[in-house]
C-alpha cells in the first residue's frame, strides 16, 4: 500500500508535469507546422481576430446560438472548473492567503469564503457533470455519437469531482499538510502524503492531466487554432 502511495504522491508528479507540457507542446507544434494552403473562411467573418477568438473561447457564442441548454451546462461547467482551478492555488501554497490577508481579509473570513465558494462550486460541478452524462444517455443525437472515450473522459472528470467533494465536505481539510507536500516536491525532497482520499483524488487528477494532450480534452488548446482557421480571414 505504501508503494502505491509513494508512486502517486511522490513519483507521479514528476512524471505528469513534464508529460503534460511536452505532450501539449508537441501537439501545438504539429498543428503549427502543418501547412495551410487557403483559409476556410466562414461568413460573416470577424473584424478583430484576437478579440473574437478570445470571446469564442471564453463565452462560446457559436454554441449559444445553436443550443441554449448545452451552452448553459457547458459554460457554467467550464467557468466553475476555472474557478476551482484558481481555488486550488490555496491547496498548494500559503502565498495566496498572505496576499488576500494583505488586502484586509481575516484568516477566518478567508476560510469562510473558501468554504462557501468552493463548496458551491463542488456541488455545481457534480450536478452538471452528472447532467452531461445523463444527456449522453438520453438524447438520441448525442447517444448515437457517444463512444467509449467520451464516457471514460466524463466519468474520470466526475470521479475527480466526487473525490474532491468528499475531501471538502467530510472533515476539515488540512491545508498545511498539502502545502508542505507541494513545497517538498518543488525542493526535490518529497514527503509522502498520507490521506487516502487525497491520494485517490490526486491519482485521478494526474491521470486526467496526463491524458489531456492525447485525448479530445485537448480542445482546451485546439480551440484557438480551429476558430482562427475557420471563422476569420
Amino acid at each position: 500500500m505504501n508503494t502505491v502511495k509513494y508512486l502517486v504522491g511522490v513519483i507521479l508528479p514528476y512524471v505528469v508535469v513534464p508529460v503534460f507540457f511536452a505532450g501539449m507542446g508537441y501537439r501545438l507544434w504539429t498543428w503549427f507546422k502543418s501547412p495551410q494552403p487557403a483559409r476556410m473562411t466562414l461568413f460573416p467573418a470577424g473584424g478583430s481576430t484576437f478579440r473574437e477568438v478570445l470571446a469564442e473561447a471564453l463565452f462560446f457564442p457559436s454554441l449559444f446560438r445553436a443550443d441554449r441548454v448545452l451552452w448553459f451546462l457547458a459554460w457554467v461547467f467550464h467557468a466553475t472548473l476555472a474557478l476551482v482551478f484558481l481555488g486550488h492555488i490555496r491547496v498548494f501554497t500559503g502565498a495566496a492567503d498572505r496576499m488576500l490577508q494583505a488586502v484586509g481579509m481575516t484568516p477566518k473570513g478567508l476560510d469562510a469564503m473558501s468554504g462557501l465558494v468552493g463548496g458551491a462550486a463542488g456541488i455545481v460541478l457534480l450536478a452538471i457533470g452528472l447532467l452531461l452524462l445523463l444527456r449522453r444517455a438520453t438524447i438520441a443525437r448525442v447517444r448515437e455519437i457517444t463512444g467509449i472515450p467520451d464516457i471514460l473522459a466524463t466519468l474520470l472528470v466526475v470521479a475527480i469531482i466526487i473525490t474532491g467533494d468528499v475531501l471538502r465536505f467530510s472533515e476539515p481539510f488540512d491545508l498545511v499538510q498539502t502545502r508542505i507536500w507541494a513545497a517538498s516536491l518543488i525542493a526535490f525532497s518529497p514527503v509522502m502524503p498520507t490521506n487516502g482520499m487525497f491520494l485517490l483524488h490526486l491519482a485521478l487528477s494526474q491521470a486526467l492531466i496526463m491524458f489531456m494532450p492525447f485525448s479530445k480534452l485537448l480542445h482546451f488548446g485546439g480551440i484557438f487554432f480551429t476558430q482562427t482557421l475557420i471563422k476569420r480571414r
Partner: protein, 458 residues
C-alpha cells in the same frame, strides 16, 4: 418520409486481389492527413462529440437517422486516422475511438459522403468551428482515388474536363444559344442588345454557369441589359470555349480535377487580356475562383481581379445608374442565400439590393445570410437524380418549410445547383412556387433607354 437511401452506384467488381491494394491506398491517404492541411488535421483530433452540429444539419434535421449524424460520418476516417497516426490510438485502440480500415466499409463511405450537402452550417455553430464538409470532401476524394465516385458525378467531371463545360456544349451550340438570347431581347425591347463573344481586350470577362446560358438564360440576358444601359456593351465579353464556371472537382474531392477544370478559365482570361473576371450566379464557381484559386495562388499572381456579377450590378444600382419598373415583378419574391455565396463568400447584401430594386414585394426567409438553411442539393447532390427522394423529403425538408413560411411566389437563388434542387422541390411538393435567379428578376424589370421615365430606387 421516404426510406430511400442516399445510396449511389457502388462497385460489384471489387475482387479479392484488388482489396489489399485499395485498403493500402485508402489507409495511406488517411495517414497523409498528418501532413496537412491544418484544418483537416485539427478536425481529426478535436471533436468533443457534443451533438450540436446535428441540430443544425439540414439532413439530420430532415430525418434524424444515425447515419446522417455528422460526427459519425467524419468518424469514418477519423477512427482510421487515430488508429494509424496517434499514439493513444495505436496503444489503446477502440478505447480512444480508433479502428482499422476495412474495404467492406467503402460502400457505406459512398452512401454517407454523398448524403452530406457540404453546406457548412455545422461549422458555423460548432463550438470548435469543425467544418464537417472538409471531412466529407476528403472522404469523397479518397473514394475518387479508388474509382468509387458515383457515376453521375464521374460523368459530369469527365464532360467538363473534355468540353470545359458541364453540359458538354460545343462552341457552336453556345453561339447559337447566344444568338437566341439576343433575339429574345430584341423581341422584349425592340432594339439590339448585344452579347459580345471572344472579344480580346474587353475589360470584363463574364463566366456564368452554363445553365445560365442554356437552361435558365434570363440571368445572362439581365446582365447583358445592365451593360447595355450603362453603355458598356463594348467593354465586356463571354468566351465561346469557357462559359461554365461550374467545377465538380470540388464535389468529387479531387484537387487535381478541380485545378484541371479551373486552369483553362484563367488562361482564357489572360488571352482575352481581361481586367476583371466577372463570375456569374454560381456559388461554388465563385468560391473556387475567389476563395481558393486566387488566395492559394494556383497559377501565380493574376493580371486581373475577380468579382461577382451581383456585386457589379449592385454597385451600379447603388449609384442610381439602373432603373426599374417594379410592377413587372409584383408577386412576393424571397431570396435564398446559396451556401457558397453566403456562408462561404460573404455575398449576402448585393443580391438583396438587386431584388429590392427590381421587385415590388421582397421578402426574407429565416434564418438567412450566413445562417441560411441549405437548399438540400449542395456539394453536387442536386445533379444526382438517383437520390431524388432523399433530396425532396430529407435534405430539402427544412428549406421547403422556410420557403412556404415566407409566403413568396418566386424563389430567387444565385446558383444553378440551388435552382435545380429548389425547382424540383417546389414541383415535387406541388407548391406552385417559381424558382429562378437574381438577374432574372432584374431582366424583367429594368428600364432600357429610360423609356418610361420610371422612378429611381436608389
Amino acid at each position: 418520409m421516404t426510406n430511400e437511401s442516399a445510396m449511389t452506384s457502388t462497385p460489384n467488381n471489387i475482387t479479392e486481389s484488388l482489396t489489399d491494394d485499395i485498403a493500402k491506398e485508402v489507409i495511406n491517404a488517411i495517414k497523409a492527413i498528418d501532413g496537412g492541411p491544418r484544418v483537416l488535421k485539427l478536425y481529426m483530433e478535436m471533436c468533443a462529440k457534443c451533438g450540436t452540429c446535428a441540430t443544425q444539419c439540414p439532413v439530420y434535421v430532415g430525418s434524424p437517422e444515425t447515419r446522417f449524424n455528422p460526427p459519425l460520418r467524419s468518424d469514418l476516417i477519423r477512427s482510421v486516422y487515430k488508429r494509424h497516426k496517434t499514439a493513444s490510438g495505436k496503444l489503446l485502440g477502440t478505447l480512444v475511438g480508433a479502428r482499422d480500415f476495412n474495404t467492406a466499409d467503402l460502400e457505406k463511405w459512398v452512401q454517407d459522403s454523398y448524403s452530406c450537402t457540404g453546406c457548412r452550417r455545422c461549422a458555423t455553430f460548432c463550438p470548435f468551428g469543425i467544418d464537417n464538409s472538409v471531412i466529407t470532401r476528403k472522404i469523397r476524394g479518397i473514394l475518387d482515388k479508388v474509382g468509387l465516385t458515383p457515376e453521375t458525378m464521374k460523368r459530369v467531371v469527365k464532360v467538363s474536363l473534355q468540353t470545359r463545360n458541364t453540359d458538354g456544349a460545343s462552341p457552336k451550340a453556345f453561339k447559337a444559344a447566344i444568338a437566341f438570347l439576343e433575339e429574345e431581347m430584341r423581341d422584349e425591347h425592340g432594339i439590339d442588345i448585344k452579347i459580345p463573344i471572344d472579344v480580346v481586350g474587353a475589360d470584363y470577362f463574364y463566366v456564368p454557369p452554363s445553365g445560365d446560358v442554356l437552361v435558365n438564360p434570363e440571368a445572362t440576358m439581365g446582365l447583358a441589359k445592365v451593360f447595355h444601359v450603362l453603355g458598356m456593351t463594348d467593354k465586356w465579353t463571354m468566351s465561346s470555349t469557357c462559359f461554365d464556371g461550374a467545377n465538380y472537382g470540388l464535389f468529387t474531392g479531387s484537387d487535381a480535377d478541380m485545378k484541371a477544370d479551373n486552369k483553362p478559365y484563367v488562361e482564357e482570361a489572360k488571352r482575352l487580356q481581361t481586367k476583371v473576371m466577372l463570375m456569374g450566379e454560381c456559388g461554388h464557381a465563385y468560391r473556387i475562383m475567389k476563395m481558393m484559386m486566387e488566395p492559394g495562388k494556383w497559377w501565380g499572381d493574376l493580371p486581373f481581379t475577380i468579382i461577382n456579377c451581383m456585386q457589379w450590378t449592385a454597385e451600379h444600382i447603388a449609384k442610381g445608374r439602373l432603373q426599374f419598373d417594379k410592377s413587372k415583378n409584383s408577386e412576393p419574391v424571397v431570396y435564398h442565400d446559396p451556401c457558397n455565396f453566403g456562408r462561404s463568400c460573404g455575398i449576402t447584401e448585393e443580391p438583396r439590393m438587386i431584388l429590392q430594386a427590381s421587385c415590388a414585394d421582397f421578402r426574407e426567409m429565416y434564418p438567412n445570410r450566413g445562417e441560411n438553411w441549405c437548399c438540400g442539393g449542395g456539394a453536387g447532390l442536386s445533379a444526382m437524380d438517383d437520390i431524388l427522394g432523399f433530396r425532396m423529403d430529407i435534405s430539402g425538408k427544412k428549406k421547403l418549410e422556410q420557403i412556404l413560411a415566407s409566403g413568396a411566389k418566386y424563389v430567387a437563388a444565385a446558383c444553378s445547383n440551388c435552382k435545380r434542387q429548389l425547382g424540383q422541390l417546389m414541383e415535387h411538393h406541388k407548391t406552385g412556387i417559381a424558382v429562378g435567379g437574381v438577374h432574372d428578376m432584374l431582366s424583367r424589370a429594368i428600364l432600357i433607354d429610360g423609356k418610361a421615365g420610371e422612378r429611381r430606387q436608389y
